[in-house]
Every structure is written in C-alpha cells, then in structure tokens.
Amino acid sequence: MERIKTLETRNLCESAKNGGCGECQTSCQSACKTSCGVANQKCESAEK
C-alpha cells in the first residue's frame, strides 16, 4: 500500500481467544501508583 504503512501489532480481537490468564503485572504495582494505565504492561502468558 503506497500511502499506508501498517505497524506490526498484536491483534486484540484475536487475543480474546486465548487471553486472560491473569499473570501479568497489576497495573499500579509498578512505577506510577497514581495514574493507572494498562497499555504499557507486558503480556506474561508465555512465561506462565
């Protein structure tokens, strides 16, 4: 596609099929403690 470059990303719809193991870090258990976000957490299902 000449005018569109698509970055490689995890497909969120696909992740619904086998996601939700719950092993990833709890959002606030990190550096922030005051401004929650989830996007910068790492998936840990492979390490389980």
Partner: protein, 461 residues
C-alpha cells in the same frame, strides 16, 4: 473506533479495537477521515479538488487508496467494530475472588515531610504506625491462600517510608521465599523509597530480592528541595542522590525507576528529566501531582498546556538520544506493540479492590493504596478476608466500559477506564472520570505511538 492525529510530522491512524496502527500520508489520512460518511465517488471528487495542485494525486491513485482502506477494513484492521463491552466484566467474574497483588504499608510514618504527599506524610490521615512481622506474615498467607491458580504474586513495600521498618521487610521477604516452592508461587517484590535510609545493606538486599525498586526523585535540586524536605525543613536532594546512584550502579541491570512528581512549580518537567539523565539515571517516570484543585501544588489549566508540549518534546528527546546510542526509558511511553496486554487486561480495569489490595500496618484491607484512610472503603482485614462484599462488587464492576464518560473515548483500551481513586477524589464516585488526568494520558499515548512510527521509519531507512 478510529482515532486520527498528527504528531512529529507523522499522520497516524489508530484502529483502537483491533489494535492496528497505520502510519499514512496526508492523502490517505483524508481518505480515512471521509470514508465512514462518504461514497468512493464523493471522496475522490473532494480530494481531487483539495489536491488539484499535486501531480502525484490522480483519480486512479485515489481510487487505489480507497481500495486499500476497504481491504484493511475487510482484514479487520480498520473501522473494526467494538464488540468488547459484553466481555468487560467476564474476566473478573471468571477470576472469582482471586487476589494476586498486595501493597504492604509497612510504615505509616516518614522521615520526610513532603507537603504534596497523597499519604499525608505517610500517616494517611491516621496515626503513625509500623507493620509488625506477624501482620505482614498474615498478609502474605492471605495472598497465597487467595491467589488461586496465579503463579506470579506481587508485593510492594510501601509507606510512608518502608525503610523505616526495614528489618520487617527483610523478614517478610525471607518468609515469602520459604512459601514459594510449597505453594508453587513466584513472589515479585517492589520497594518504593525516598532514599534517606539507603545503606549498603539496603542496596545488597534490594538488588538481590526486589524485582523492582522505585526511587523518589523530583529532578532538579531546587524543584526537589521545594517540597521533599525533612521535618526541619531541609531539602533531601544532596543526601539521597549519591545513595540512589550507588544503588543503581550496583543493580546490575535489574528493574528500577526514578519516580518523580511534577507540580505547579515545574510543569516544565523535561528539565527534571534532563537532570536525572545528567545524574546517570536512564529508567525514568515522572507523574503529574494528584491533589485537590485548590492545593498550591495542583496543576492549573495553563500548566497542563505546558505539560502537553513537554510530553511532545520528551518524545523528541527520546528519539534523538536513541539515535545517539544513549537511549532512556520513560515509564508511560513503554509500549510493546506485539507483546503487550491482551484484550482482557485492556478492558478489565486496574484491578483495585479485586486482584489488588492495600494492607495497612494493622492489617486492614483497602481497594488500593490511594483509598487507605477512607474508612468507608475498608474491605476487611488479613485475618477475616474481605467482609465488605458489596464494596468489592462495586470495584469488580469497574472496567473500561463502566464509565459513561469513556464511551466515546478512543483511549479506553489503553487506560482500561483509568484510576478509580483519582475518579473518586475528583468526583466523589469511582465511576467518575478525572478528566485532567485523561487529557494527559491521551497525550502520552499519542506520543508513545508516534515514537513507534518514527522508529519504524528509521528502521526502514
């Protein structure tokens, strides 16, 4: 939902529900903006007129671009429908009453007297207290007993200042380690400290046992020492910086964050980031102050405008340093596009009051560290578990779709509905929204994604 924005010379299109990110030129940017409400003929006509002076923009080319957009839509990478709302509560329902992370308030006291402290100098509006080993041990037993099938358990030693109860911290870590094998668990400890009591023992022990160390430093000496003072009013910068440098140097690559707070005194917080870099620190986190709007430290609307510009400049600085081979990390710009969280994580909320709880020195449970001291938010205690079942349900129902104000927000799958405590303090309800925080959050995500676009362009060249 599609979100389009321009930043750093890039035209970026987010298809938020698939997670797809497209970096496009201005013509495709316009095609995508027009696509939902216009026919291909209308789009072609409108853009032929707009780009009449551009010889590279032909009707055939525009038709090709429209076909590309249609192909991406068919592939589920553009204009993906939001079908997640019904799933939003399922993860927490499926998890039952599992708890996997505790914030242990081992010391409700502090050796600094920072006026902006959300924990009111560590006391959380209550009495000064230290957690005993027995209470801490019971908390760890409670965590193990309620962790279900989770392997990774997280414990943050928090305060006040946890180093004021250091021996108990060490005993609790030692106890937890003895419980890992019999229960098939893996503890990850974090220490959050103001640095005043760091010595060789703290450095050795923390670098051996703590998965993460969060070191409170606000940046420039004059900024740090305005608020981070001892009870005699003396600044702490000179005393803590050498200790932090020694700890980090000995850390051997393990996780740490220099964690600063910016306030009305320093919306130009990039200078504080630069100061931390000059001191040799590379893993950085700077947070907007959380306080009442009438607090002198609170960020004003004018401050927030400066902060938004600072976020853009920060992204530029990070890209420049990366090119120079001197990269650094900013916590809120960490995005792993291929290995990031699954959709369940993104829609289920932060976990406060369900998988994550805070424990006071006397063993009371609260939904998170920011609710400690709010008596009506007491969930129970580490001996009897959660006794305020209705309160837990209130938190269980918090997710990315629980807040009406989030319905049309493109960023909700990045924040999962935001911080319940900030919402409560701003609006009186955990289902409210702390809009000033949202505004800054959206900017941070836009910057972080723009950096990914820049890195991809750099890799291509």
């Amino acid at each position: 939902m599609v979100h389009q924005y321009q930043l750093g010379g890039y035209h970026i299109v987010l298809d938020t529900c698939s997670g797809a990110i497209h970096v496009v030129d201005e013509v495709a940017y316009d095609v995508i903006a027009l696509y939902p409400d216009h026919t291909p003929d209308e789009i072609a006509a409108a853009l032929m007129e707009k780009y009449a002076a551009r010889p590279d923009v032909t009707e055939a080319d525009l038709r090709g671009c429209i076909a590309d957009v249609e192909a991406l839509k068919a592939e589920g990478k553009l204009f993906t429908e939001d079908t997640f709302e019904d799933m939003a509560g399922t993860f927490k329902e499926r998890s039952g009453d599992v708890v996997k992370a505790l914030c242990l308030h081992v010391a409700h006291t502090c050796n600094l007297n920072c006026s902006y402290c959300f924990a009111s100098q560590g006391k959380y509006h209550g009495d000064r207290a230290l957690m005993s080993f027995e209470v801490g041990k019971q908390a760890l037993d409670f965590l193990i007993a309620h962790s279900g099938s989770r392997t990774n358990l997280e414990v943050d030693f928090f305060g006040g200042e946890p180093l004021m109860n250091w021996d108990v911290v060490k005993q609790l870590v030692a106890y937890a380690r003895t419980q890992e094998q019999p229960h098939h668990k893996k503890f990850r400890f974090t220490l959050t400290t103001n640095g005043m009591l760091i010595d060789d023992d703290v450095i050795d022990f923390s670098n051996r046992e703590m998965s993460n160390v969060v070191l409170s430093l606000d940046g420039r000496k004059e900024i740090h020492d305005r608020l981070r003072v001892d009870y005699a009013g003396n600044g702490s910068w000179e005393r803590i910086v050498p200790k932090f440098q020694k700890l980090v140097a000995a850390r051997g690559g393990k996780n740490y964050y220099m964690r600063g707070t910016f306030t009305h005194a320093n919306p130009d917080f990039l200078k504080d980031i630069q100061c931390m870099l000059d001191l040799g620190f590379t893993e950085l986190s700077m947070e907007p102050v959380v306080c009442k709007a009438d607090d002198p430290a609170a960020l004003t609307e004018a401050d927030r405008k400066i902060v938004m510009e600072q976020y853009e400049e920060l992204a530029g600085l990070m890209l420049a340093r990366e090119k120079e081979g001197k990269p650094f990390t900013f916590y809120h710009y960490m995005l792993d596009l291929t290995g990031g969280p699954c959709i369940y994580k993104r829609i289920s909320g932060c976990g406060s009051g369900t998988e994550y709880m805070a424990v006071t020195p006397w063993g009371d449970l609260y939904p998170c560290h920011q609710f400690v001291g709010e008596e009506r938010y007491k969930l129970g205690d580490v001996w009897n578990g959660v006794t305020a079942a209705a309160l837990r349900e209130e938190f269980r129902s918090c997710n990315a779709y629980a807040r009406p104000a989030c319905a049309d927000c493109w960023a909700k799958l990045y924040c999962s509905g935001g911080c319940a405590a900030n919402a409560y303090h701003a609006t009186g309800s955990i289902r409210g929204v702390y809009e000033p925080g949202c505004e800054l959050f959206r900017k941070r995500i836009e910057c972080a994604i723009m950096m990914k676009a820049a890195e991809a362009a750099e890799a291509e060249n």
